[in-house]
């Protein structure tokens, strides 16, 4: 009798296939990329552009972009639904924010993403220099689908640079944490290709400044341990004064941060780096296969890193952002009440930084 019941239910199920709120895959517009910008109108301040793949009846793939204005992100989604015959759903996406919108503050839009369970935690975020809409709509000859291009770009960045691996989880985590500030990569679409311009640092949820690619590399080194990183160094040869390029690859670096909080007014932070890498390009004249010259080269690299780190840290202090996470280290040294009473902005501006680097060249490549 029990099996009969199951059979009856199963037969009834066959008739109920439409009732389950089904999302049959070819009726969906699965968003691959969404871009948010500030629009020009006062009542609908947010402009959303979406990009999704379409398949024609013959089986040819294509993409489609739609734009709409609204008061909030879901308001624009509703307006977008009325522009297409497919049902719009979120999914694996790359989300782009226009520059102006980022400067104003992103948290309202991002909180919608946390509330709506359709957007996963792994959606990637990025800032676009200019308008996100233009980037999505730009037609690049060799790229059929901008969003897929962007997504694989993100994946590549994530493997190379830990700092550039940004997604919703990381952004929110660093935003809510009072000891560290979030960062997002910055893309631009001037020129023929979509290219990565640098790293955008945030204060709270507002975009303050952009770090260049070189500064991003240094930031990467300062933030934590690195495996398989790379560093392009441009320095001046001491004797001849010419420009010398040095490219270190397969960098394994160990990072040790220490904070001294004994003096409230002037705290010091010390970062110790231990870098090991192999040389792939050296345009100078020294014969680096010899031990003596290797030591010299290592010293040059160390100087380079120390000078540039100092410059970077001064810049970060000026804009009062802390993507490295010095704040959490300070917090772990103070008691709860002291930390809450502390004016972190002031303390951060008065902080002294010291960077100590030790470079080891593992090998110098195939030739002398």
């Amino acid at each position: 009798m029990q099996n009969k019941m199951i059979v009856m239910i199963a037969i009834c199920c066959l008739f109920l296939t439409g009732c389950g709120g089904s999302k049959i895959i070819e009726e969906l517009a699965i968003l691959e990329s969404v871009a948010f910008d500030l629009s020009d109108s006062k009542e609908n301040p947010i402009k959303t552009t979406v990009l999704f793949p379409t398949v024609s009846k013959e089986g040819k793939a294509g993409i489609q972009t739609l734009t709409a204005d609204g008061k909030s992100s879901h308001d624009t989604f509703i307006k977008l639904q009325n522009l297409t015959n497919l049902k719009i759903v979120g999914g694996q996406s790359a989300i782009l924010f226009g520059e102006e919108l980022s400067k104003k503050g992103l948290i309202n839009i991002i909180e919608t993403f946390t509330r709506d369970p359709e957007f996963g935690t792994r959606v990637k975020f990025a800032i676009v220099e200019g308008k996100g809409e233009e980037l999505l709509k730009k037609k690049i000859p060799s790229v059929p689908d901008n969003a897929e291009y962007l997504y694989s770009f993100f994946e590549k960045l994530g493997t190379q640079n830990k700092v550039l691996n940004t997604n919703k989880y990381r952004f929110l985590r660093d935003y809510y944490d009072d000891g560290i500030d979030p960062v997002l990569p910055v893309f631009s679409y001037e020129g023929d290709n979509i290219e990565l311009k640098g790293l955008g640092t945030f204060k709270g949820d507002q975009y303050v400044t952009r770090l260049t690619l070189i500064e991003t590399q240094i930031l990467n080194l300062l933030s934590g341990d690195i495996k398989n990183g790379s560093l392009m160094i441009s320095m001046n040869d001491e004797e001849s004064g010419n420009n010398v390029q040095l490219y270190l690859s397969d960098i394994n670096s160990k990072n040790d941060k220490k904070v001294n909080t004994s003096k409230r007014k002037n705290m010091t932070a010390e970062v110790n780096l231990d870098i090991k890498g192999s040389v792939l390009e050296y345009t100078g004249t020294m014969d680096i296969s010899k031990d003596k010259y290797q030591r010299q080269l290592e010293k040059q690299v160390e100087n380079y890193i120390i000078t540039n780190s100092k410059k970077l840290l001064i810049k970060l202090k000026k804009y009062q952002t802390d993507p490295i996470g010095i704040g959490s280290l300070v917090r772990n040294r103070l008691s709860y009440e002291t930390w809450n009473k502390l004016n972190w902005n002031e303390t951060y501006s008065n902080m002294n930084f010291k960077v100590k680097v030790k470079v080891d060249l593992i090998n110098t490549g195939n030739s002398k």
Binding site: M1, I6, L14, T17, I25, E26, V89, E148
Partner: protein
């Protein structure tokens, strides 16, 4: 008032039936009152017959209108013999009976008839049974003798067609009981190999043998099995599979509970493991008990190879079990409800392949599964000459043509084909047929509720399986009453030095959990 009472009574009976369903089944074996009514006549007839004394005339009258009956008289009608020519071995007949009878004189007969070859029998029913079993009945001077000269054409011992093994013995049982017994007896040369003979079937009187190794097998199992078989009241059984379905604990389950096989090496392995084996005359299949779900996934090939290979193949089989149950259902559930589980790179190809299909994924999937079942069933029934062609036509052409016409998507064809192939990996044909049937249930549940539908279906299946018993011994041993030491031999194939001496706990486990170990 009376009508109200009858309604209440009916509801009560309905409730009792719903919840006490198992109890109703158990009564079939032990409570034979229900079966008495249609058989009353034969009982009274046999009662009558059993009191009759055997005479030549009565026997002839009983067996009249039988085309192959032979009756001869010797010595001027003093000795009559009756036999069935289709059941006796003509050489033995000639040698043992006809020549001596032709040559001997009457005075020597008494002495000859003292020999043990000649069994004296008075009861009419037993005489007729004897003739039906291939004996010659000899009527002389008021006494009746039965001489066993049975022998008939049989299929020679050949390779089993449904259970093939790459490396190992290739003989298999055939339909004659004596041959099967000889195949077992010569592999177990121990005086402790015992065989109990029973007879099942009112009209067919099929011989059933219960074989076990004394001291290893549990006495309760033998007793239980014997009682079950003796309580079967049916006209005839044609095959061992029919018998085991009648004595099953749970007759409404799609899963087979007794393990059947055609191979003597498997039978002997089971005997050594402490299980009880049953042979049925006219059937090449034998059944073993107590068996568990994991017995159906073993094959002698695992034991004839090094243990790492054997373990790898076993794990492959369990993976195949999962694949065949879940793969198509998973495809249906992803395409209908859970688009976000597809990685971005696959998304385009799945969307492309589905774009031409006008049906929702579940209809498509059920349609293709039915087509594959049709192909399989047709392939089993077709005469061999046409079989090959239709197989190729069906498999390749229909699949390709369906995709071109836009009725199905090509990813679905791959999914369905893989899951069909995976279902044939199970060594036991009956179990793989059950799994194929259960697969449809999974697909329906996936189409209804997506992923959680699959898990509900899996839950129902597991609850059903762990509740099954085989002759009161749990079906899902050694996982569900957990005996880690037995995992070495049933879940993976452990090295021979690890398999502990003694018998697995399953053969000792009766009454749902009473534990007595060796």
């Amino acid at each position: 008032m009376g009508r109200f009472r009858t309604i209440i009574k009916r509801i009560k009976i309905l409730l009792q039936k719903a919840t006490g369903f198992i109890n109703l089944h158990n009564t079939r074996h032990l409570n034979s009152n229900k079966q008495v009514a249609p058989y009353e006549k034969t009982i009274s007839d046999t009662v009558d017959k059993s009191l009759k004394v055997a005479t030549y005339e009565n026997t002839l009258k009983e067996l009249e209108n039988c085309f192959d009956l032979v009756h001869r008289s010797f010595n001027q009608d003093e000795i009559h013999i009756i036999y069935f020519s289709s059941l006796v071995d003509s050489q033995t007949l000639e040698w043992e009976i006809l020549s001596p009878l032709r040559e001997m004189s009457f005075s020597h007969f008494d002495k000859t008839f003292q020999q043990s070859l000649f069994k004296c029998e008075d009861n009419q029913e037993k005489v007729i049974n004897g003739i039906l079993e291939g004996n010659v009945s000899l009527f002389t001077g008021g006494k009746t003798y039965l001489i066993n000269v049975s022998g008939f054409e049989e299929r020679s011992i050949s390779q089993s067609e449904s259970e093939t093994v790459i490396n190992g013995p290739h003989d298999s049982f055939n339909e004659v009981l004596n041959t099967n017994v000889s195949l077992i007896r010569r592999r177990v040369r121990s005086p402790r190999l015992k065989m109990i003979k029973l007879s099942v079937g009112e009209i067919s009187k099929t011989k059933v043998l219960i074989i076990y190794i004394e001291g290893i097998a549990h006495a309760d199992v033998v007793k239980n099995l014997k009682e079950r078989i003796q309580s079967v009241k049916i006209d005839s059984i044609t095959d061992a599979n029919v018998l085991i379905q009648i004595i099953d604990d749970h007759q409404n389950s799609p899963f087979p509970q007794f393990y059947t096989t055609e191979r003597p090496d498997i039978a002997v392995t089971k005997l050594y493991a402490g299980k009880v084996v049953g042979l049925v005359d006219d059937s090449p299949n034998i059944f073993c008990t107590p068996s568990s779900f994991f017995d159906f996934f073993e094959s002698p090939d695992d034991y004839n190879q090094p243990w790492i290979l054997g373990t790898g193949v076993r794990i492959l089989r369990y993976m195949a079990l999962f694949i065949t149950l879940i793969l198509t259902a998973f495809y249906v559930s992803i395409c209908t409800y859970h688009y976000e589980m597809i990685p971005l790179s696959l998304l385009q190809s799945i969307m492309q392949s589905r774009s031409r299909v006008p049906f929702p994924p579940i209809v498509e999937a059920i349609f293709l599964e039915i087509v594959i079942e049709l192909l399989r069933e047709a392939g089993a029934r077709l005469p061999t000459k046409i079989g090959q062609t239709i197989g190729i036509v069906g498999g390749i052409v229909i699949g390709q043509a369906a995709v071109e016409a836009g009725i199905t998507s090509n990813i679905l064809i791959i999914v369905v084909a893989v899951s069909a192939i995976a279902s044939f990996i199970v060594p036991s044909y009956i179990m793989s047929a059950s799994i194929r049937m259960v697969r449809f249930f999974f697909i329906l549940m996936a189409g209804l509720l997506g992923n959680i539908g699959i898990f509900f279906a899996l839950g129902i299946l597991i609850i059903h399986l762990t509740g099954l018993t085989n002759l009161s011994s749990p079906y899902f041993m050694p996982i569900s009453p957990t005996f880690f030491k037995d995992w070495m031999d049933s879940i993976v194939r452990g090295p021979f030095y690890k398999i502990r001496k003694g018998q697995p706990a399953q053969s000792m486990m009766q009454n749902d959990g009473e534990k007595e170990r060796n």
